[in-house]
């Protein structure tokens, strides 16, 4: 999902930076408030952020004959919402643009918007919709993770399509072209990532159910039910 340095006109770089910055500031504010209220949230932040680090370092092969990164943002999204997740992603993406030439400082805003903001925002919407239903919590985590991953790449496609509309068909037809490169590659990765992070969530739930209940991520009843199944 990285847009490479230099591949986005500066006007668009500016637009995405201007969208990303307030979201990051909101993330800093939320994180301060959260950690001020409950220090026990810090280890959970460590685990969920750790998975963003691990998964976004893996380049996995896919059915299109090219490789792509999972995003790993699902757990952080479920636990802390999109703004804190955006902050985690910003750290990873900064590291990758400084040392790995994946993305770059001018396109960092655009990459934060896709991986850290729109993806997690969609995931968070799904989580809020499903949280109060009787759906199994693991299925919820799976769907949040897989959709956050998918929509990261849909957003990248959109960002590129807006900057590079095709001569015939404009933004729509180049969006379809970019989706063919990014989103199709991502489908199997998103599914596997969703399943793996649902499994990780099971271990969090087994070891530290009280933090999930206290942060009101899932209700005690749901947690109790999830502990006895799967």
């Amino acid at each position: 999902m990285h847009i490479m340095e230099g591949f986005l006109p500066w006007q668009w770089c500016l637009v995405w930076w201007l969208i990303a910055l307030p979201c990051l500031m909101l993330g800093v504010w939320q994180l301060k408030k959260l950690l001020g209220a409950d220090r026990e949230a810090l280890p959970l932040l460590g685990v969920t952020g750790g998975f963003v680090f691990i998964l976004s370092s893996l380049k996995l092969p896919s059915v299109t004959g090219s490789c792509s990164h999972p995003t790993g943002t699902g757990l952080a999204t479920v636990s802390f919402g999109p703004w804190v997740t955006a902050l985690t992603c910003a750290i990873v993406l900064l590291f990758q643009s400084l040392f790995l030439a994946h993305g770059g400082l001018s396109v960092l805003g655009a990459n934060i918007v896709s991986m850290g903001i729109v993806g997690p925002l969609v995931g968070y919407g799904v989580y809020r919709l499903l949280r109060d239903t009787s759906l199994n919590v693991y299925l919820t985590v799976f769907l949040v993770t897989a959709l956050a991953d998918m929509f990261t790449y849909v957003t990248t496609s959109l960002e590129l399509a807006l900057a590079y509309p095709a001569e015939t068909g404009g933004v729509v037809s180049s969006f379809i072209l970019f989706m063919g490169v990014f989103a199709v590659t991502q489908v199997p990765l998103a599914i596997v990532e969703g399943i793996v992070l649902a499994l990780v969530f099971k271990y969090i739930l087994t070891l530290k159910p009280d933090i999930l209940a206290r942060l009101n991520i899932f209700s005690e009843k749901q947690i109790e039910a999830a502990r006895s199944e799967c």
């Binding site: 370092s57 090219s66 001018s106 970019f178 590659t185 199997p188 799967c230």
Partner: protein, 103 residues
Amino acid sequence: MTYRYTLELIAGMAVVAFCVLFLYTSATMSGAEFAGSDNVGSALIAELSGTTVENFQPIIPQWEPPSGEIEACLFALQAAVGGILVGMVFGFWYGQARGKIAE
């Protein structure tokens, strides 16, 4: 309460299926280079804007890992940082949970 392994089983099968899919793709698809989709995307940008990939110069000067080995090293470092974080916290929680039982 007995421990159930349904999710572990599903995850194991998903990973195996993923590997099989990869092996099948790499064996049957001609011209599958497994390059990064970032690069494929960049090539498409060049095609759409009617120039070559080399024409795109960084707006902000950028350091690039001099070789694939160094890039792999730095990626491994990134994963290691994540792994340490995850391992540390799970260990901490495990210890806490054990401590509670011992009391």
